[in-house]
């Protein structure tokens, strides 16, 4: 606990993290840090949040022993079912927590960014529950690609704002949300969707998602009688992976994060920030990012919109450099294979994001001891992706 407290004080994970934002926002980040520390220790706030996570979101989520997938790969595979949460992904853990913080801090307006729309839907949902107005920034390209989620957000009462600047995707939606926050900082709470951004966001979001690993660790001990040998999760910004990893940080558990390899690392069309990027500053934090020789942020590609981001959370950069976690990239095709494998063996339509982790498991299974136990973070369900998958499989056929 001492190390963690030190981390919060400094806002750093080794040399990563920090606050690289305009001066205008620094007092708001200070306020958020203080209020978060106060409210997270407040039993009344804690009880309201926990009750909502339980009765409204559906926590705890099951840990499922995937018997047929285990047989197929010669492993003992346990799946943490975040896909069964309300709104269909782990994003709601963070959105509910931050929106409740906003309400307790007396903020009158919620803003968020979204890529695929999952965090936007989660935030719109949380704002509806909290009775706060919500505006979601979304790249114009993503609005076209993810029209169903745009409609879901509108049904939930949120206003979706199309971002026409830059590459018109998630990166630019975050830029625009930051500009809104700089302008309306006195009244507005910015609900960031992953473990990215300036301190204290990477710590705050990590803490809100750490429930995933906390539950899974206890469930492993209860159901399997032991800790897993390996914990594996996909990494875009990295919130579901950090959420899964955090409880195991001091355990002898191998931690593997899987990034989006897009068309393949050799093509340059990918989103494998930790595997193929370099240190730099984007969206308020020092971390790894995909950039050109002049320090301009590069466009990314992935079949999975939720991983299609040129940055990554600073704690992942730290875990990579310290060697505590390892990171790999899997391409679009492998993710589709992983998706189909899980559907066929277990009757689960996973989102394309965690399908990268399933695909990677297929690749590394031969290198693991037979019967090794593996904990997989299944961050979301795949309904949102079926049309993309249909198109991709149709092209292959």
């Amino acid at each position: 606990m001492t190390a963690r407290a030190g981390l919060i004080g400094a806002g750093r994970f080794g040399r990563f993290g920090g606050r690289y934002v305009p001066e205008t926002l620094i007092p708001a980040l200070d306020e958020l840090e203080v209020e978060y520390a106060r409210l997270s220790a407040d039993p009344v706030f804690r009880a309201a949040l926990d009750s909502t996570l339980h009765h409204y979101c559906g926590r705890p989520t099951p840990l499922y022993y995937a018997a047929r997938l285990s047989d197929e790969l010669g492993l003992k595979i346990y799946i943490k079912r975040e896909d069964l949460l309300h709104t269909g992904a782990h994003k709601i853990n963070n959105a509910i927590g931050q929106v409740f913080l906003a309400r307790a801090m007396g903020k009158q307006r919620i803003i968020a960014e979204t890529g695929a729309g999952q965090h936007g839907v989660a935030t719109a949902t949380a704002a509806a529950v909290a009775g706060l107005p919500c505006e979601v920034y979304m790249g114009a390209e993503d609005i076209i690609r993810q029209s169903l989620n745009v409609f879901r957000m509108r049904l939930l009462g949120a206003k979706v704002i199309s971002v026409e600047s830059g590459t018109r995707t998630l990166k630019d939606a975050i830029n625009e949300a930051l500009r809104d926050w700089v302008t309306n900082v006195a009244t507005t709470f910015y609900v960031i969707g992953s473990v990215v951004g300036p301190h204290p966001y990477p710590t705050l979001v990590r803490d809100l998602q750490a429930v995933i690993g906390r539950e899974a660790r206890a469930q492993m001990i209860e159901q399997a009688g032991c800790l897993p040998d390996v914990a594996i999760a996909c990494v875009g910004g990295g919130s579901n992976a950090i959420g899964l990893f955090h409880a195991f940080r001091d355990d002898p558990v191998r931690l593997i994060g899987v990034e989006a390899g897009g068309d393949g690392l050799g093509t340059g069309r990918h989103a494998a920030t930790l595997v193929a990027g370099s240190p730099g500053v984007l969206h308020g934090a020092m971390s790894y990012l995909l950039q050109d020789e002049a320090g301009q942020v590069r466009e990314t590609h992935s079949i999975s919109a939720g991983l299609d981001y040129p940055g990554v959370g600073p704690e992942h950069a730290f875990l990579k450099e310290s060697g505590r976690a390892e990171y790999a990239a899997e391409d679009d095709r492998t993710a589709l294979d992983g998706f189909q494998l899980l559907a066929r063996t277990e009757g689960i339509l996973a989102a394309l994001e965690p399908s990268h982790a399933i695909g990677h498991l297929q690749h590394v299974a031969p290198t693991l001891p037979r019967g090794a136990s593996v904990l997989v973070g299944l961050s979301g369900r795949g309904d949102k992706d079926v049309h993309v998958i249909a198109r991709a499989l149709g092209e292959k056929a």
Binding site: P22, E23, P27, S165, R179, V182, A186, V281, H283, G295
Partner: protein, 266 residues
């Protein structure tokens, strides 16, 4: 004494305020930028502020974002901007201040940047996403080379933070007039004098005000409370409309801003 310090000392001795026009390098081309800087210098500018284009300019409104995109489409890099500064330095007497987001500087390397910028004749650097807490490494690389790092104060800054901004800055301090991003506005923020007054209690450095200063009348109002007036988006708009042929319109606009600044103390 640095070029920025001597420029502001001379202005102060004359009872004048600085006019600091801003543009984005490489918009529409680096050659055009050189011509525009000559135009600024001959139209009454005291300090020249050159923006380095960045892919993700979170402190900028649409006008400067579009300018950065045009410059990046032409391939403009930080190295190109340093070359440009070196090219115009011999013929221009005014101090040159770069405005760059942090990542292009980091990518070049802090040591290399400090050395190259100083060699190019750059006098100061403003980094809009670098608050003083994170500014130590850049200052350590810049100050031994005689390069002034200028930090920003904002309307939301507490007095404690204003003291830190003032103590960390060299050359001048940059006062953000409004709670928001850069851009053309109808009016100057009403409380700008209050913010400058709060900052003044912590520093003897010149205080220059930017963000939203858009017209000669705005320049007059700001020059009434500050040591310098920074005009960005309104100038970039003139360049956006005129392209490489913007020089006559630019000269006219900068001269009008000059008249506005001088009217404040006349």
């Amino acid at each position: 004494m640095s070029r920025l310090a001597s420029t502001f000392a001379a202005l102060r001795a004359q009872g004048r305020r600085a006019l600091i026009p801003f543009l984005v390098a490489g918009d529409p081309t680096l050659d055009a930028t050189a011509t525009f800087l000559d135009c600024f210098a001959s139209s009454g500018a005291d300090v020249l502020e050159i923006g380095v284009p960045f892919s993700d300019p979170i402190a900028d409104g649409p006008v400067n974002q579009r300018a950065a995109q045009r410059a990046l489409a032409g391939g403009t890099s930080l190295r190109d901007v340093l070359d440009l500064a070196a090219r115009v330095r011999p013929r221009l007497a005014q101090p040159i201040v770069l405005l760059s987001y942090y990542n292009p500087i980091l990518r070049l390397g802090l040591e290399a940047f400090g050395r190259l910028a100083a060699n190019a004749g750059v006098d100061g650097v403003v980094v809009p996403d670098l608050p003083p807490e994170e500014g130590g490494p850049l200052r350590a690389a810049a100050e031994p080379n005689g390069l002034d790092i200028i930090f920003l104060a904002a309307p939301t800054s507490t007095d404690e933070r204003l003291a830190r901004v003032a103590a960390s800055s060299r050359g001048f301090t940059y006062c953000v007039s409004l709670t928001g991003v850069t851009g053309v506005r109808d009016d100057v923020a009403t409380d700008v004098g209050g913010l400058v007054g709060r900052l003044r209690r912590h520093t003897d450095l010149p205080i220059c005000v930017g963000f939203g200063v858009s017209t000669p009348e705005h320049a007059r109002q700001v020059a009434g409370v500050a040591d310098g007036v920074i005009v960005g988006s309104a100038i970039v708009s003139v360049i956006e409309q005129g392209g490489a042929a913007a020089v006559p319109a630019l000269a006219e606009f900068v001269r009008a801003l000059r008249a506005g600044v001088d009217a404040a103390v006349a």
